[in-house]
Structure formats: C-alpha cells, structure tokens
Symmetry: C2
Subunit: 211 residues, 2 copies
C-alpha cells in the first residue's frame, strides 16, 4: 500500500510518453515497465490489462482538460455576445497550455495521445471518449455552430472533423515538423507557437464559403 500510487503513477508517466511517441500497439508493456523501473506484472495488477491502461492514460488528461475547456468556452461567450470562431478556438489555448503545468510536455503528449487514439483504435477508445465526455463535445459543437450560423449543420459536421484531423495530425508529427522548420527556416517553435499558427488556418477553413 505504501508505494501503490507511486508505482501506479510511474507506470502512467512512462506509458503516456511512450504511447504518444510511438503509438499504442508499437509500445509493449515490457518497454513501459522497464522505463518506469517497475515490475512487468505490476501493470496487470494495477490496471488489469493494456487496454485499460490506455484508457487510464487518456482519462488522466481528459479529466483535467475537458472541464477547463468547457469553462473557458462559457466564459468567452459571456464576455462577448457574438464570439467569433477565432475567439472560440483561442479560448481553448489556455486549457491546453495549462496541461504543461500539470506534467512536462503535457500539452504535446495529450494532443498526440488524442491523435493516436482516434486513428489507431478499432473503436474502444472512440467509444470511451464519447460515452465519458460526450456532454463536453456537444457543448463545443454548439458553441462553434453559434459562431458560424451561416454554415449548415451537415457541412459543419464535416468541417469540425477536418479541424480535428488538422490538429491531431499536426501534433502527431509535431516533433518532426518543428525540426524541419528549424533547419529550413531557422524558426524555433514550441508547442504554443504551433497552436497559434494553426488557429487562423482552422478558423478560415471552418468558415469558408460553402461550395
């Protein structure tokens, strides 16, 4: 009991980093436990299975981010009666960057995990996210729809998924991209700089004239 949460946390810390970098199926429990310096069997003792470990890793971020994001959106809608798309997207920057204070590289890891989960999973993660955090997602969709009332709902459905794709893919390759940008353009971007770059792109895309 003494070191329970210590071992559990060591596993989570080690796992989230490796999952974000290499993907879920490319990361073995052996790698996780050796980096965490705990015994292989402890994963199954504390989490039951690899699948449940994956969900626990994601939940630790979602439980922090989702309520914070919801509060930020409510706040921006109170301050401006007609919040723009840029306002809505920008309001998410603080909750995202606050994840860096919770854990080293928290923002990057969270977004990479989200991307991996969306693309890799055969459904169990998508199901986990929508059933556990569906209320927040609905709230976000409504806020965006309000800010771009000229876009029909069906079109908005597609554009929000385009947006998710842009963010998730960018974050999954963020390390490689910042490296190339540094070499080719002598730009030195951290995660916040990348987020700030992507927002104008997203806003313009979501509110583009309907073909």
């Amino acid at each position: 009991m003494a070191n329970q949460s210590d071992t559990k946390t060591k596993i989570l810390d080690s796992a989230e980093k490796l999952f974000a970098e290499r993907g879920f199926s490319e990361t073995s429990l052996r790698l996780i436990t050796s980096k965490a310096e705990v015994n292989l069997a402890s994963v199954n003792y504390h989490f039951g299975s690899k699948k449940e470990l994956i969900r626990a890793v994601l939940a630790r971020y979602m439980d922090v981010f989702m309520p914070a994001a919801a509060a930020a959106i409510i706040q921006v809608k109170q301050q401006k009666q007609c919040a723009s798309l840029d306002d809505i997207f920008s309001s998410l920057v603080s909750p995202l960057l606050d994840l860096n204070t919770v854990r080293t590289e928290g923002t990057l890891i969270f977004l990479q995990l989200l991307g991996r989960g969306y693309i890799e999973s055969q459904g169990h993660l998508r199901w986990f996210i929508t059933t556990h955090y569906g209320q927040y997602l609905t709230q976000f969709v409504h806020a965006v729809a309000e800010s771009a009332p000229e876009i029909p709902a069906a079109e908005m459905f597609w554009r929000l998924h385009f947006t998710l794709g842009t963010v998730v893919f960018t974050m999954a390759s963020a390390d490689a991209l910042t490296e190339i940008a540094a070499a080719d353009f002598e730009e030195h971007n951290d995660i916040e700089a990348v987020i700030r770059k992507v927002i104008p792109y997203l806003s313009a895309g979501v509110s583009a004239p309907v073909g």
Copy 2:
C-alpha cells in the same frame, strides 16, 4: 514463372486493402496471404520482407498518381496565368479519382495508405517517399506558393502540412464519417463528394490572413 506476376499481384491487392483498413503493424503476413489465397512464404520470396512489401504497395500508387498530378498542375498553370489555390487543389481531383479506374476503391485506399504511412512509420516510409518522389513534391509546393504569394515560405510550410493532415486524417476515417453523416443528416457521400467538400476548407485555410 508462369504465375509469378499473378501471385505477386494477388499479394499486393490483398495487402493494400488490409493495410489501408487496419494499418501496417496491425496487419500480419498471415492475414494478407490467407485473404490472397497464396502461401505464407511467397511474400518473402517475392518481396523479401514485410517492409519492402509495404513500400511496393505504396509505390504502385505513387507511380501512377505522381506523374498524373504533375501533368495536371502544369496544365492548369498553362490555362490560367494566375491559377488560384482552388484551381491548384481542384486540378488534383481528377488524378485522384482516376485511381478508382485503376483499382476498385483506388482513391480511398491510396489516401488511407498515405495517411497510415505518414503517421505510423518511424521514418523508412517518409524517407522512401521523399527520395523517390521528391521532385514532384517540390513542384507542387512551388505551384501552391505561386498561387498565394502573400504567404511567407515558412508559414506556407506549416499550412501545407496542416493540409496534408486534414486530408489524410479525413480519409483514414472516411468510412466512419460517411456512415455518421448518412445516419444523422441523410447525406450519402462517396469519396468524390468528400474530396469536393474538403477543398474549400483547405483553400481558405492555406490563404488565411497571417496572424
């Protein structure tokens, strides 16, 4: 020798489908050969290894698509002296859809493979693409940059990667998304419809005012 290309083709046909659906590492050689109704050992006989099979699958599409895309861009630039971003992106639609005539679901499979390759690979596929098809990529980047001269080169680098992310992510989840759209909005989209939907989003994003 008699059935050489027959077996080789059966393997490629079976592999590309499975790779696109499930990803590379989630697809075993056993699954590929059993669906292709060939012997397990034939993969290593014809391709040498799983890695080389993956490259061969991608190359079969790239060798068709890349020259066609290059020709389409040259053509649109000849017809209009000031081709817009929309013109450039739209010129790629035909080469993409022509892949459907080469193979059933060719367009979707190609784009899904591209996305999987970009995200999953630890470098060998990215290296393969840039060394074998780098000339085409450079040409494409130049064409886009010409059509949006107000965007600085470094910013354009980022926006083109945002664009790539949007496209490959959308295609990787295209099946799920069209299903949801059909259920929720009674929209029935094929791959061409999805491509036509994404182009305005991309054009607006790439040419968005620089923050």
